[in-house]
């Protein structure tokens, strides 16, 4: 029995290690490409073990895009504010919906769900935000449109409340005279730590990875985030390979960034997430209290 268990553990580790290798190898290739001398990359192609190392890519990124550091700051500010706002809206919306005794719960759920499938499209959304709310070239343009609440996460949160928090616990708190806000704050949220942390991660990633809002609403370089800088580069490449002829030979002065640089910026955009994630992980712990109440 014990032996059997150890074999199982080993097999499971082996499976996970295989997955990890599959995930890390391409990433490593990306990092290595960004560290390979460009001429070598052009001549010999991609390799895990480049013949000629070079930090030129990163020197280029720091030098010519003086905005990179600034982009980091913007990304972090936007991610922190946006994630906080989103989590507040999500939890406040998900909890009432999880309560089976809430009148018109079905209608409210439908109103929420409907937004997942139908939207007015880019043009009306843009016209509203740009003309009614004058959001262009403000930091709110990177926070509010589309990202501040997502039906998907609300539904996830609601399911979690429903399946993981015993109704008896809420009833008990009510009998003690707690208000709904108090129940939410001192009973529900602490018991939902795993899901809250998961959503912090996911919403945070959405803000971290977003470039679309920037593309639509921001032209002021002072508001550029890292992902916008990366996306601008990629969009420029796509444009040049499609329409270079429309600029004539003058386009020759506007060169497509070389492969190493494209990879380098991608690395720069990913690294901080890998650094921050371990700090979030400690909150991924089992809620222990749940069992206690019933027993």
């Amino acid at each position: 029995m014990v032996r059997n268990d150890r074999v199982q553990q080993i097999l499971m580790h082996a499976f996970m290690i295989l997955l990890v290798v599959l995930c890390v190898a391409p990433f490593l290739l990306m990092v290595m490409s960004s560290l390979t001398e460009e001429a070598t990359l052009t001549r010999n192609g991609y390799s895990f073990f480049p013949q000629v190392f070079s930090l030129e890519t990163y020197r280029y990124i720091i030098r010519s895009q003086g905005t990179i550091l600034h982009g980091y700051v913007m990304t972090i500010v936007v991610t922190v504010i946006g994630t906080t706002a989103n989590l507040l809206l999500t939890i406040l919306f998900a909890y009432p919906l999880s309560r089976k005794d809430l009148p018109y719960r079905g209608v409210l759920s439908f109103i929420l769900f409907f937004t997942m499938l139908f939207n007015g499209g880019l043009v009306p959304t843009y016209m509203m935000y740009a003309q009614t709310f004058h959001i262009k070239n403000t930091i709110w343009a990177l926070i509010v449109p589309g990202l501040m609440m997502n039906a998907f996460y609300v539904i996830m949160m609601r399911s979690f409340f429903q399946s993981s928090i015993p109704v008896a616990l809420i009833e008990a708190a009510k009998l003690d005279g707690a208000t709904e806000f108090r129940i939410l704050r001192s009973v529900i949220v602490p018991l939902s730590k795993p899901m809250v942390v998961t959503l912090v991660l996911m919403v945070g990633l959405n803000y971290w990875n977003d470039w679309a809002n920037g593309l639509y609403y921001v032209t002021d370089q002072g508001l550029f985030t890292i992902q916008m800088i990366l996306n601008n580069m990629i969009k420029n490449i796509e444009f040049l390979s499609r329409n270079a002829s429309s600029l004539g030979v003058a386009a020759s002065q506007m060169r497509i960034p070389q492969v190493g640089i494209r990879m380098g910026i991608a690395v720069v955009a990913v690294l901080p997430v890998l650094v921050i994630y371990p700090f979030l992980q400690k909150y991924f712990v089992k809620g222990i209290v749940i069992g206690g109440v019933k027993g």
């Binding site: 010519s64 905005t67 959001i135 509010v144 370089q221 969009k235 030979v249 506007m254």
Partner: protein
């Protein structure tokens, strides 16, 4: 409850932040949207804008707001901005037949009457060909960028190999001659690519031998490599003799291992690979400036296809006024000034003298001491190709000629135009067809031009797909209109 209050506060804060700062100015401000690919800083733009506004206030009584957008995002961002009054004057690309879209969508103001009433100084800027290129159904919708247009086709080769093998670059003036050289090089250097696409999977920008007509993306005429362009029979791209000839060469070269095997999944620039010695040659278009100037360690061959241009080449970049502009009159004033006022235009495109560019002893422009394309903060000097009137700027120190305007005029005269030049075919009610055609063209064009697939193997399939979307009916209609147009001209 506290949390709830916090949320409410948060929402209120946001709403208050959205209320626009009141703009108190007597003069009308006209916004100007320009695409760029150079690094720029917001401070530099503000500085240049202030200088321009000083000049505008003195001479025209208006103000401007410069909005720079990365070139890859430009079309989408400008189209969005055109739904609201925030955009007045914008640059737009018309290489893919977009002028018809802008007109159909009602995005641009009809400038015909304003241009009629404009002073001669403005009218004399444009040639008849340039006005035709920015007109549709006889109405003028914008001004084309003043620049040399069209180009000839040549080949860019790695200098080391050219010298090592003693290749006479200038003698390569046809695909046959190019083929001979490529085979020799392939024999001597089988370890590198002999021929690579010019950019990504695009075998060559200028699409030698084929030219679309009527400002459409789907009707084509045969083009001669050298000599007059007399064909008037509209065909599909895939059925023109010149396309067939070109693909026959590339297909043979591809099968013999001369063209990179990954031509249709390539993401690099051909010139980069040639410069780095990873490839021997790439086809390239060229006009006035020699290509060696842009690509170190390369040699340019002879003229494979003589200089030519069609309407889309002349007007591939234009400037017009949005139909949602709140100040069309002031916008037109600025638009005209951009084509006639050298001081204004130089400020806009090169920035402030002494700060973003300097004039050397010969009166030619160059980067200030210690600055390069990578760190000059305004970026206009690097990306000057996207401004309205290139000819108003001081000549660059790198230019090979002294009088740019005269050279360009001479060049433009020497460029061949097809017999159907000036003919326009209205596609505004053929959107479904244009979209369907685009999907078919994209499926086959690059695989054929790169030689990856032989034309004869797929032509029946292409023709049956074209028939299915009604291609030949559209072409017949277009042909009838072209014939009528030609008869009228004659």
């Amino acid at each position: 409850m506290k949390k709830f209050v916090a949320v409410l506060l948060c929402v209120l804060m946001m709403l208050s932040a959205m209320i626009p700062a009141a703009m108190a100015e007597d003069m009308v401000t006209v916004s100007l949207y320009i695409p760029t690919l150079a690094p720029y800083t917001e401070e530099a733009i503000q500085k240049v804008q202030a200088a321009i506004n000083e000049h505008l206030a003195e001479n025209y009584g208006i103000q401007t707001k410069l909005v720079y957008i990365e070139i890859g995002n430009f079309e989408q961002a400008a189209n969005l901005a055109m739904t609201t009054p925030e955009l007045d004057i914008t640059c737009y690309f018309t290489d893919g037949g977009q002028l018809a879209n802008y007109v159909r969508n009602g995005q641009l103001i009809d400038l015909t009457d304003r241009f009629e009433a404009a002073p001669d100084e403005v009218k004399s800027v444009f040639t008849e060909a340039e006005l035709k290129a920015s007109s549709m159904n006889g109405k003028l919708y914008g001004f084309v960028r003043k620049y040399q247009y069209g180009g000839y086709e040549t080949v860019v080769m790695n200098k080391d190999i050219v010298e090592e093998m003693g290749i006479d670059a200038a003698s390569i003036d046809s695909m046959d001659k190019l083929g001979e050289v490529l085979y020799q090089v392939h024999e001597a250097h089988p370890e590198i690519y002999t021929l690579v696409p010019q950019s990504s999977k695009d075998m060559t920008w200028i699409r030698p031998y084929i030219r679309s007509v009527g400002l459409t993306t789907f009707g084509f005429l045969n083009n001669a490599d050298h000599g007059e362009l007399t064909d008037t029979q509209i065909k599909s791209m895939f059925e023109t003799d010149s396309f067939r000839d070109f693909c026959a060469y590339t297909n043979k070269w591809y099968n013999d291992g001369l063209i990179m095997a990954d031509a249709i999944s390539n993401t690099r620039e051909g010139s980069d690979m040639v410069t780095a010695g990873a490839a021997f040659a790439t086809l390239h278009n060229a006009d006035i400036d020699p290509l060696e100037m842009f690509y170190p360690n390369t040699v340019t061959g002879g003229i494979i296809v003589d200089p030519m241009a069609n309407c889309a080449d002349i007007g591939n970049l234009q400037f017009g006024i949005s139909s949602n502009s709140a100040h069309p009159d002031e916008a037109f004033t600025l638009l005209c000034a951009l084509y006639t006022d050298a001081k204004l235009h130089t400020l806009l495109s090169f920035g402030i003298e002494g700060e973003h560019y300097v004039l050397n002893a010969d009166g030619k422009a160059e980067y200030p001491e210690g600055m390069t394309a990578e760190n000059e903060p305004y970026g206009g000097f690097t990306a000057s190709a996207t401004y309205p009137n290139y000819l108003l700027n001081p000549v660059r120190a790198t230019a090979t000629v002294d009088d740019y305007a005269a050279t360009v005029a001479e060049w433009d005269d020497s460029v061949r135009v097809p017999a159907a030049f000036g003919f326009f075919y209205d596609t505004s009610d053929k959107g479904d067809f244009v979209a369907a055609y685009k999907n078919i063209e994209e499926k086959y064009r690059d695989v054929l031009l790169t030689g990856t697939v032989a034309l004869d193997d797929v032509l029946p399939a292409i023709q049956s797909e074209l028939t299915a979307i009604g291609f030949y009916d559209v072409i017949a209609d277009m042909q009838a209109q072209l014939d009528a147009y030609l008869a009228e001209q004659a």
